[in-house]
Each structure stands twice: as structure tokens, then as C-alpha cells.
């Protein structure tokens, strides 16, 4: 156990080639680099390799397969167990989390190639690291919180049946990773912060609006959320391509949420029409 380099190399049973799209900033000096990384298979050694452990290997040995010394790859990472959403990127063209992408599964044979690219719907900070600030900003637009009166002790919250809890729990698992946005044909990159308020909110935020509207206290600000989703960039921008639900690693029922909010927005608009607001 002297260092990562040797221990992996000695026990290594095969080599996986990484093709990585690098950049010094958004659209700055975009280039591809290739690295050969030795990996052990899952049943041997100290646990199976995944894309992050290979990026860690490259960081400790920043040399391309052509022998050029480079810099470690820059990327976003946190929990390493697919609950924080940080490490989202395009792996072999598909958007997913790098930490739960096992090499044994996605590159089982010697010489297999894995391509890594940054998400395309968000500006690149550097290499595989993108800035998803818009996603968090959009949550503000839809008042994505329960409007409690403050932190003083006012007793328990509203009661809820196990069935209701199960539906809300599923929606609450959204880790703001952005896979659904990357996969959505209607969600386009928007670098200008000024336009974030009118650009499409995307599936995750629509689903969050449903989550808060379902909560007894959250429902008191239902109108604010429906107003936001009625405006430009709201739920009507969705083209119903359903790519989002297939891309979501947490299996959040996004199309159900979109349909539910679509109906709610329609009812909301009709009511507004008749009440003359």
C-alpha cells in the first residue's frame, strides 16, 4: 500500500482509455485528451473502480497516453454515493453521475473507451465542471419552500397519510443534478442571467412546485407558484418529449408532475379569467 499509482497498476487486470473533453472556460481552448487508466475488476482488489476513482488516478498521474504531462482534470464532486448531484456529466454521450458509473459495467473489456464531456446546458467553468446556478435561481422563481412563520416552537406540522408521504418523499429526493434538463430539448443553455426569469424552468422545478403545492402549509402560496408556471418559460414550454423522466437517476415521476402542474395551471388561468384578475 505505498501509493495509488503502483497499487492499482500492479493488481490491474486491464486498461481503460478515457477520452476527455477539456476546456479552460466556457468555449475556451476546448480540446480532447486521452488517458489510459489501469483498473481492477469489482470482485478483486479494494473495491471496484468508477469514473471518479479513475479521475483521481489521473490527478495523481497527470500524463496523457501520449506521454505528455498535463494538469489534473477539473470536475465537481461531493458525496460519492449519488445523493448530492455534484458529479453529473456526459459519459459516453449519456448524462449521469460519474460516481455511480462503474467501470466494470460501462467498460468491461480491456481497451474499452469511455468519453467524458461536461453538461451542455450550463456554462463550463473548467473541463467537466459546469455552473448550475440557474437551477437554484429558478427555485426562487417558483417559491420552492414551505412558508413557515419562523423557527419558534409552534407545535407539529400538518399530519399526512403514509400514501401522501410516499408521493412527497419521491418528489423530495430531487438532488438538483440537472440530468432532466440536459436531456430536455426545450431547455436551452442561457448564459445571460437577465434571461433566467423568462427561460424555461425545466422539469425539476415544475416537479418541485408540485411538491410544495401538495403540502398543507405549502399550498397557502400555491398561487405564487401557479402564477410563475403560467408565465413565459412556465409549464407550457414543455414539449412533452418525456426525455426528462428517462434521464432522472432518482426515478422521479417527472411526466406525472408536469401533467399535474399543467392541469393546475389551466384551472388557475380559467379561475383568473372568470374572477377578472
Amino acid at each position: 500500500m505505498s501509493n495509488t499509482t503502483t497499487s492499482i497498476a500492479q493488481a490491474g487486470t486491464r486498461t481503460v482509455r478515457f477520452r476527455i473533453k477539456r476546456a479552460d472556460g466556457h468555449k475556451k481552448n476546448v480540446r480532447w485528451e486521452e488517458y489510459d487508466v489501469p483498473v481492477t475488476s469489482g470482485s478483486e482488489g479494494s473495491g471496484s473502480a468508477n469514473v471518479i476513482s479513475c479521475l483521481q488516478h489521473i490527478a495523481a498521474n497527470p500524463v496523457t497516453r501520449h506521454g505528455e504531462r498535463t494538469t489534473p482534470i477539473t470536475y465537481d464532486v461531493g458525496c460519492l454515493e449519488e445523493v448530492c448531484g455534484s458529479c453529473t456529466m456526459l459519459i459516453n454521450g449519456h448524462v449521469r453521475q460519474a460516481c455511480s458509473c462503474l467501470i466494470d459495467t460501462c467498460a468491461p473489456r480491456d481497451g474499452d473507451v469511455i468519453t467524458l464531456e461536461p453538461m451542455t446546458k450550463f456554462p463550463v467553468i473548467r473541463d467537466l465542471w459546469v455552473d448550475r446556478a440557474r437551477l437554484f435561481e429558478t427555485l426562487k422563481r417558483t417559491s420552492a419552500w414551505v412558508p413557515i412563520d419562523g423557527t419558534y416552537h409552534l407545535g407539529a406540522g400538518p399530519m399526512e397519510t403514509p400514501d401522501e408521504q410516499q408521493v412527497r418523499y419521491k418528489l423530495s429526493e430531487c438532488m438538483s443534478c440537472g440530468c432532466c434538463l440536459e436531456a430536455c430539448p426545450q431547455y436551452l443553455i442561457e448564459e445571460d442571467v437577465e434571461n433566467w426569469d423568462s427561460a424555461f424552468v425545466g422539469a425539476a422545478v415544475i416537479s418541485q412546485a408540485r411538491y410544495f403545492n401538495m403540502h398543507e402549509t405549502g399550498a397557502s402560496t400555491k398561487k405564487l407558484r401557479l402564477d410563475a408556471l403560467s408565465e413565459a418559460g412556465g409549464v407550457s414550454d414543455c414539449g412533452n418529449a418525456q426525455n426528462c423522466v428517462k434521464a432522472c437517476p432518482k426515478e422521479i415521476p417527472l411526466t406525472e408532475s408536469i401533467a399535474a402542474m399543467g392541469r393546475a395551471v389551466t384551472v388557475h388561468k380559467i379561475k383568473q379569467f372568470f374572477s377578472g384578475q
Partner: protein, 677 residues
């Protein structure tokens, strides 16, 4: 930069549960909050917590449980090393904290009657753990994150995400008046002014290489405070969880419910002359290992408990057999075997954790035994903090009054012997104006933390002690921000610029990733489950060599933007410095207590060591000086911690034999085996 003199500001460093709760409390009181985090706060390490959060509740109460019992269990679990007033206050606040989280919309699991569901957890005979699926930490985080976002829209909280805290700014009076931080995208370094600073930066798992922690948990922020004069409490107390999945990059937690449902721990071995010896082919396919070549290590040594022995015992045993060369494949792994159980039952009872195993190992635990190993999990130690006991504590301390634990505990009539809610120093470090909340605070858990008490302590710190920050700013720091001359800020920024330039200019052959890996290896080997004088000394030598090699390091990346190579290399330096008090604290503590186990001093020694270890940084030698502080034990007299006596096979569990508070306290504490992490 002009600062509005009328506006008082508080900086919170860290957006995990502790930092978010603290930000909310301070913003609610009307002060502007600047919230710093390495990552978008929603992605903080707290999202990893699975099992739940403890609090007395009505069902348990009617079975004889109480806030007092929760308090006592926590002390007993922690081997009485914790100051008692803060623990007393925390456990009495716990039910209110659950109510508040409930109001914020946390989807807690529900019973058929729509009440909050409860599960059993280690260290208690009562169901007192509230949970939200197997992702409780994530759900609590999101609820607090949402409230913070709400304050953001009102302009009361400003977030600085992808910013790294580099050091506290401390003026000539020894007061903390701000911080220096760096934008991880542009690499800009600048100072921020504040009337008070809260450090809520979580634990130091990465000092041990691979752990169950997230990659941000380097302990670097705590180390930087320590290097600037903040004392560090109980550094040697590190919790190791018995069952984690070894991974190439991380040790992912495998809940203890796998053993609760019948999982068996074994290693391949050969019995020769009645003695187990390592197997000649330890890597052979597990299902082909003959039955008489399987050593069920826990069942053999602990016939009554078998695989459900308490965490620290299981950890020591697993660690021990691997050290003796019995590990699977000759490595650091043992089998946790569920394959003898019916598939359908496993899916129904353990579906969630089986899924994690499948996802990350790529194998099906219903077909192949899981390979697990203990993993560094939590730090009881952290920045040393002070507090003010409530008015009546002294009477209990002096023996004038005593807690009558035979009457039914009424939380509304509880004596005022916890914390003074109006004090301005609760969880403030030895530096005025610098507070520490959450895992980075050394309070509450003593020698070992009970499962599901960490989330509680994080939120309690934020909500309760956040009030102290408000008091401090109101009373002691009036308009401090505007009054301070710019020079001290500029000097601090200059110091960090110099440090960066120096790191960038190094040109040796060493690599920071390799140094960190070796630090992790030696710390895990010598300073986790089993420690002794020789090993700790070896580790000190090793760390000192690593420090020398660190000086011979060079960065592969010297660019001036988004340079993660630089931030990592800088953190590695801080980890090396933090390793020193962890080792020296362990060396000096010549006893065994909680998670600190020294076979060369196998017994607890209250006479000499019922004391907090305090490590102080010596800027000249770069080493720690160890001293001790008395533990405040005025409420419950420390007693022997012996879980084997409290529960034998077939002994009552919470569901079938609720106990009255009148039972001797030692007997009411058991080792529940249900529940997750």
C-alpha cells in the same frame, strides 16, 4: 470597500445542517448573513446521512422514555466524556426540533394513523429515531436549504458558493472580525468583514484517506482555525463504523440492519490444532468455500450476541482479523453474508441498502456475500468551545440538588441545569466572536456518538446556539465591523497570497495526491480502531516525513483559474497539521474509553482521564501541545459502561418491555440492533 455602519453582519462558513440552521436563526433575528460553502449548500455532506434523528416522542414517553433518558443514554454511549449541560439542553430541545422540521415540510415516514413513524437505533431500548426513508439527512438538508433560499430572496442571506474559507481574521484584541476566502472559480482571494463568524465546516474524514465522508470533509477549515489559535478538543476520538463497502474512492456505509436481519460476518480460514490460520487461497469464490473453512468471527467469540454486538466491538474484531492476515483475498475485507436468507424476504426488508450495494459494487448481495470493512465515519473531537450553564446547574454540581430520576420526567418542569439560553458564548471557541457548530464542534458526543444523534446536535447548534451569536453581536460587537481599520484585513489577505505563491513555486518531485493517500494509510493503520504507543509514535514519525515530502511537492497545475490542484494541495498541508493532535491526543490518553481503544491501557481511568483533551497549536514547532480540562459531570455521576450486562439474548426490547424511569439507569440502556446507520 464601504461598509454600511448601521448594518451588522454575521459570517457562517459551511452550509451543512449546522450552518444552514445557524444562518436561518441569525437572519430571523434581523442580522445580515453571509453564507460560505465549498459547494452549493444543497450538496453539502449532510445529505449522506441515512438513518435518522433522535428525539423523545409521545409513544416512547408513554412507555417510560423521556428527554432525561435520552440525555442519560447519550452520556452512557459517550463513556461520560462529554460536558453534561449542553447534552441536557440538546435532548430537551430535540422534540421541538422535530416539530420544526415537520412544519418545514420534511417528508418524515408516517404510521397508518398519519403520525410520524419511529425506528429503533443503537444505544436505546425505545423507538426514538425519526426518519425519512433511508435518506433522512438529504431530506432535512433540503428543508433547511429551502428556508435559506427564502431568506435569500428577501436579501437577508447572501450565499458565497464555491468559495473556500482560508483563515479567520483576528484583530489585536484577539477578536474574530471576519475571514479570508477564495473564489474557487476565479481564484480571487479577499477578506470579508463580520461582527461574528460561525464555523460549521463538518468533519475531517479525509485525514484518514478513504472514509464514509464526502470529499469535502478534509478538516482543512478546522485545521486553519486551529493554526490561528483556536483550541481543538478531544482530537483522538474518531468513530469507526463496522460495516462499510470498500470502494476504490470511498467507503460507502452499509447499514447495521443487514446484521439485524441475519447477516453473518465471516472470513475464509483453516482450523489447525484448534487454532484458526489464514486460508491458503483467501481469494477463492466465497460460495465455493467449504463450511468448515468459514470462520464466523463474531458468532464464535460472542455466542450470545453473535453478529449484533455493539458497533465498537464489531469494528475491533473485523479490524483485528484483517490485521492478522485473515482478510478476504488477503486484503482488508470480511464477508457480510445474507445469501442464506430467502431472496423475497431480503428485498422486502433490506431493499434500500441492497440497491446501494448493487449500484456501487455491481454485485447482487442476495447471490454473493458482501465484502465489508470498518470505515472512519465521524469525529467526536473538533474545535473546542465554551458555554454558560443555566442558573441552577451549580446547585447540582455542588451536590446541593440532585436529579431525581425515579419520578416521571416532566420536560416542562425540568430544572434549569442545561444551557443559559441568553448567554452570548454558547459554542464560542476560545477566540471571541468565533463560534463552532455541527460536527466541527467537539461537544455532545464524548467518547462515542450514538447513531442519529449527530443530525440533532448539528441542528441544535444552529438553532439554539445561533441565539448566542445574536446575543454576542448585540452586546459585545456593536458596530465592530465598520470601526475596524482595513490594515488587519489586508495583512491577512497578503498572508494567503504569499502561501499560494509559495505552493505554486515548489518544484520538487512529490505529488499532493500521493502524500494524502499515504497520510490516510498511516492514520487508518495506527490511529483508528486499535492504538498503542509504538504505533502512534510510528505514525508521528511518518507524518513528520510526509511533512518533509510535502515541502518537496510540486503542482501539476499552476494556472490562475479554477485550480483544484492548488486547493487540494493546500488542504493536504492542513490535514497533515491536523493529524498531529489526533496522534498526540491518542498517545497522551493512556486509557481506553469509547472509540479510543488502547490495549496497552485497556481500562477506563476516570481518575486521570475523565478530562477533555485540549490541543493547542505551537506555531514554532508546528506541533500540538496537549493539556486537559475537567469534564462537567454535575448532573449524572459517571458509571461503568458495560453493554454486555445490560442486554442478554432474549432480554426485553423496547417493543415488548417498556421500562419505567424507576429502573436503575444502567439497566435501561441497551444496544438496539434495529434501524440503519
Amino acid at each position: 470597500m464601504a461598509i454600511p455602519s448601521s448594518e451588522q453582519r454575521v459570517i457562517v462558513v459551511g452550509g451543512g445542517l449546522a450552518g444552514l440552521a445557524g444562518s436561518i436563526r441569525v437572519a430571523e433575528a434581523g442580522f445580515a448573513v453571509d453564507l460560505f460553502s465549498l459547494v452549493p449548500v444543497k450538496r453539502s455532506h449532510s445529505v449522506c446521512a441515512q438513518g435518522g434523528i433522535n428525539a423523545c416522542n409521545e409513544v416512547a414517553r408513554q412507555q417510560g422514555y423521556s428527554e432525561f433518558e435520552h440525555f442519560d443514554e447519550t452520556l452512557y454511549g459517550g463513556d461520560f466524556l462529554q460536558h453534561q449541560p449542553p447534552v441536557f439542553e440538546m435532548t430537551h430541545w430535540a422534540p421541538k426540533i422535530i416539530d420544526l422540521l415537520d412544519r418545514m415540510g420534511v417528508p418524515f415516514n408516517r404510521t397508518d394513523e398519519a403520525q410520524r413513524a419511529l425506528r429503533l437505533f443503537g444505544g436505546s431500548l425505545y423507538k426514538r429515531t425519526h426518519f425519512s426513508g433511508a435518506t433522512t439527512g438529504q431530506q432535512l438538508m433540503y428543508a433547511l436549504d429551502e428556508q435559506v433560499r427564502r431568506y435569500e430572496t428577501q436579501g437577508r442571506i447572501t450565499k458565497y458558493e464555491f468559495w473556500e474559507f482560508l483563515r479567520p481574521v483576528i484583530d489585536s484584541d484577539g477578536k474574530c472580525i471576519g475571514i479570508v476566502a477564495q473564489d474557487l472559480r476565479t481564484m480571487q482571494v479577499r477578506s470579508f468583514r463580520a461582527d461574528a463568524v460561525v464555523i460549521a465546516t463538518g468533519g475531517p474524514g479525509l485525514v484518514f484517506g478513504k472514509s464514509t465522508n464526502s470529499v469535502m470533509c478534509t478538516g482543512a477549515a478546522a485545521s486553519r482555525c486551529y493554526q490561528h489559535g483556536v483550541k481543538y478538543g478531544n482530537p483522538e476520538f474518531i468513530q469507526v463504523h463496522p460495516t462499510a463497502i470498500p470502494g476504490a474512492d470511498k467507503l460507502r456505509l452499509m447499514s447495521e440492519s443487514a446484521r439485524g436481519e441475519g447477516g453473518r460476518v465471516w472470513v475464509p480460514a483453516m482450523k489447525k490444532n484448534g487454532e484458526w490460520t489464514p486460508h491458503p487461497t483467501p481469494g477463492m469464490a466465497p460460495r465455493t468455500v467449504p463450511v468448515d473453512e468459514r470462520w464466523y468471527i463474531l458468532e464464535e467469540k460472542y455466542p450470545a450476541y453473535g453478529n449484533i454486538v455493539p458497533r465498537d466491538i464489531a469494528t475491533r474484531e473485523i479490524f483485528g482479523v484483517c490485521r492478522d492476515g485473515f482478510g478476504v483475498g488477503g486484503g482488508n475485507m470480511v464477508y457480510l453474508d445474507l445469501t442464506h436468507k430467502p431472496k423475497e424476504e431480503l428485498e422486502r426488508k433490506l431493499g434500500g441498502i441492497l440497491e446501494i450495494y448493487r449500484k456501487f459494487v455491481g454485485e447482487d448481495p442476495t447471490e454473493v456475500p458482501m465484502k465489508i470493512f470498518p470505515g472512519v465515519h465521524y469525529s467526536m473531537g473538533g474545535l473546542w468551545t465554551q458555554y454558560t450553564p443555566a442558573a441552577e446547574y451549580e446547585r447540582y454540581e455542588s451536590g446541593e440538588a440532585s436529579i431525581d430520576n425515579t419520578r416521571v420526567w416532566d420536560p416542562h418542569k425540568r430544572p434549569a441545569c442545561g444551557l443559559d439560553a441568553h448567554a452570548d458564548n454558547n459554542m464560542m471557541t476560545n477566540i471571541d466572536g468565533l463560534f463552532a457548530f455541527g460536527e466541527v464542534n467537539y461537544q455532545y458526543h464524548g467518547g462515542t456518538r450514538l447513531g442519529a444523534n449527530a443530525l440533532l446536535s448539528c441542528i441544535f447548534d444552529g438553532l439554539f446556539c445561533g441565539q448566542s451569536v445574536v446575543q454576542y453581536v448585540t452586546r459585545r460587537a456593536k458596530n465592530l465591523v465598520a470601526d475596524r481599520p482595513q490594515a488587519v484585513y489586508d495583512e491577512s489577505v497578503e498572508g494567503e497570497h504569499k502561501k499560494i505563491a509559495e505552493l505554486m513555486s515548489r518544484s520538487g518531485a512529490e505529488n499532493p495526491y500521493v502524500i494524502a493517500k499515504e497520510l490516510g494509510d498511516v492514520m487508518t493503520r495506527e490511529s483508528t480502531v486499535v492504538k498503542d504507543e509504538e504505533g502512534l509514535n510510528r505514525a508521528l514519525v511518518c507524518v513528520s516525513e510526509l511533512n518533509d515530502r510535502y515541502a518537496q511537492m510540486s503542482l501539476a497545475d499552476t494556472s490562475g483559474w479554477s485550480n483544484q490542484n492548488l486547493t487540494w494541495a493546500r488542504a493536504v498541508g492542513d490535514m497533515l497539521i491536523l493529524a498531529d493532535p489526533i496522534l498526540r491526543g491518542g498517545l497522551a490518553r493512556k486509557e481506553s474509553r469509547g472509540s479510543h481503544y488502547r490495549p496497552d491501557y485497556p481500562d477506563r481511568n476516570d481518575k486521570d482521564f475523565l478530562k477533555t483533551t485540549i490541543a493547542t497549536f505551537d506555531p514554532v514547532t508546528k506541533q500540538s501541545m496537549i493539556s486537559y480540562e475537567e469534564v462537567e459531570t454535575g448532573l449524572v455521576k459517571p458509571r461503568v459502561r458495560d453493554y454486555s450486562k445490560a442486554k442478554a439474548k432474549g432480554a426485553p426490547t423496547a417493543s415488548n418491555a417498556p421500562k419505567k424511569q424507576s429502573a436503575p439507569l444502567g439497566e435501561t440502556v441497551g444496544t438496539g440492533s434495529g434501524g440503519a446507520s
